[in-house]
């Protein structure tokens, strides 16, 4: 991936059109990557030739045909196959979908809870234990109403 980007940037690097941090990173990568180094050397030579073109054009009219030959000799960058684009798109969509699902998913209680309306005396005793130990008399209302609604 990095090679692809660096090789795209080499023409700008060769003419000095790449700004500071990118030029440094590209040069660093080129110094370490043999493939990119080959491309860079070709690009550098081509740029040097193009710079001399103005001077040589008058003297050597056959220069352009030579340049053309050299350009043809450089292997053209292969276009990305369509299956790669489609797979990348599908994977990206899947990843985004998963993230959305994780963030927004609220698990639903599958089993319906059968709620009884009848407050047996035993449960009243349990509410009393709750009030006694928690010291929270606000639920006394439920106890009172449970007694009233029996």
């Amino acid at each position: 991936m990095i090679c692809k980007w660096v090789q795209r940037l080499t023409p700008r690097l060769a003419v000095g059109g790449l700004t500071f941090p990118f030029s440094l990173l590209a040069r660093r990568h080129i110094s370490r990557c043999p493939d990119c180094q080959v491309v860079w050397e070709k690009e550098e030579k081509l740029t040097a030739l193009l710079r001399q073109a103005g001077e040589l054009r008058l003297r050597r009219p056959e220069l352009w045909s030579e340049i053309e030959k050299r350009l043809v000799a450089v292997p053209a960058a292969r276009a990305r196959p369509i299956w790669q684009t489609v797979t990348a798109g599908a994977l990206g969509t899947l990843a985004v979908g998963l993230i959305v699902l994780i963030l927004w998913h609220r698990p639903v209680d599958r089993e319906p809870v059968p709620i009884s309306t009848k407050m047996d005396p035993f449960f009243q005793a349990m509410i009393q234990h709750h009030i006694t130990l928690s010291g929270d008399p606000s639920v006394a209302l439920a106890l009172v109403t449970a007694r009233q609604t029996r």
């Binding site: 234990h129 008399p137 439920a142 106890l143 109403t145």
Partner: protein, 337 residues
């Protein structure tokens, strides 16, 4: 074109900043009201008349007016012929047919309980959702929404001057009001200030694992039902999320003739009254019954009861060795009119 771009970007920035400032101001105001309300609850106890409404699981609602008074350093709530007395020494329900009393035998405060105010901030989101007229004043209505599932949203109408909660509503998942308490008349009585100590970190992790998210273990204790000679003893763990109390009770009881001590044989179930759920679970051929009581949804209460039944945690203060005994009154003033 460039000028248009800069103008649009500036306008968008101003709108975003205004929205953030508005939201922050609203949340800050709501929290300031809640903090004031908590301070009032710590320092004062209200007494007076309360209009109550409670929704039953069949969809019907019951309502009435209750009288709340303070007696023998306890709280009395009386509606119709039914009276409930709650104090540190016990809890008593009195009706024309019978009297039901329970009293704590032991109570131990957990050392690492962080405090209700801190838990409330981490487990709930508050918002200023409107205003209503109460007692000749325009009072803000604050919505207290839980972060975790299985709990109910509360709408509190708070007196802006004192911080007293004039009306509290518990709202169900469908927007229906499960329980409403509205003070009609009120007088304030100062609470006795309890000494609060900052305690070292410790706790019973095994028991906390079965608690719902956001809940922390507050107390463990033993309570006894004194309705009959068999006297059901319940070992209990009390947990809180800052707003709601949840009690996990372990009841060891064999066959009894007393209806208050006759526990379900096996299986599990849940009973609901208003926002209060009582869930129980007992394994086959087990003598221990696990009961969960609290203002949580029935499904959450049942889940906690089932997981307690499956893991069988020990509800003893010796488990963690991280408790402080709470001094209980030796006498039992309950039952005295």
């Amino acid at each position: 074109m460039r000028r248009f771009f800069y103008a649009s970007a500036g306008l968008a920035l101003v709108i975003v900043l205004s929205a953030v400032a508005y939201w922050w101001r609203d949340a800050h105001f709501a929290w300031s009201v809640i903090d004031k309300s908590l301070r009032v609850q710590e320092e004062w106890r209200p007494a007076g008349k309360v209009r109550w409404l409670i929704r039953l699981p069949d969809g019907t609602t019951r309502s009435g007016v209750a009288e709340v008074a303070l007696r023998d350093s306890g709280l009395v709530m009386k509606t119709g012929a039914v009276e409930v007395f709650c104090s540190a020494s016990g809890c008593q329900l009195r009706s024309p047919q019978y009297s039901l009393t329970s009293r704590p035998l032991e109570s131990h405060q957990m050392k690492d309980f962080p405090g209700s105010a801190r838990l409330l901030r981490s487990n709930y989101r508050v918002a200023h959702v409107g205003s209503r007229r109460a007692g000749g004043k325009i009072c803000p209505v604050i919505s207290v929404a839980p972060v975790n599932r299985g709990l109910y949203v509360r709408r509190l109408t708070v007196d802006p001057d004192t911080g007293f909660v004039i009306q509290s509503e518990v709202v169900g998942s469908g927007g229906e009001v499960l329980q409403r308490l509205e003070w009609l008349t009120v007088t304030f009585i100062a609470r006795r200030q309890e000494r609060r100590e900052r305690l070292p970190q410790a706790g019973d992790r095994r028991l906390e694992r079965i608690l719902p998210p956001g809940f922390r273990l507050q107390k463990i204790g033993v309570s006894q039902c004194q309705c009959c000679s068999c006297g059901t003893v319940a070992h209990a763990a009390v947990a809180s999320d800052g707003m709601v109390g949840l009690t996990l009770l372990q009841v060891q009881q064999e066959d009894s003739a007393c209806p208050f001590c006759r526990a379900p044989k096996e299986g599990s179930g849940v009973v609901q009254a208003g926002s209060l759920s009582v869930a129980w679970s007992r394994m086959k051929r087990s003598t221990a019954l696990w009961v969960v009581v609290g203002e949580v949804t029935p499904s959450l209460a049942l889940r906690v009861a089932k997981s307690a039944c499956a893991t069988q945690p020990a509800l003893s203060e010796r488990q963690g060795g991280a408790t402080v005994p709470i001094a209980l009154p030796s006498s039992l003033p309950v039952g005295r009119r």
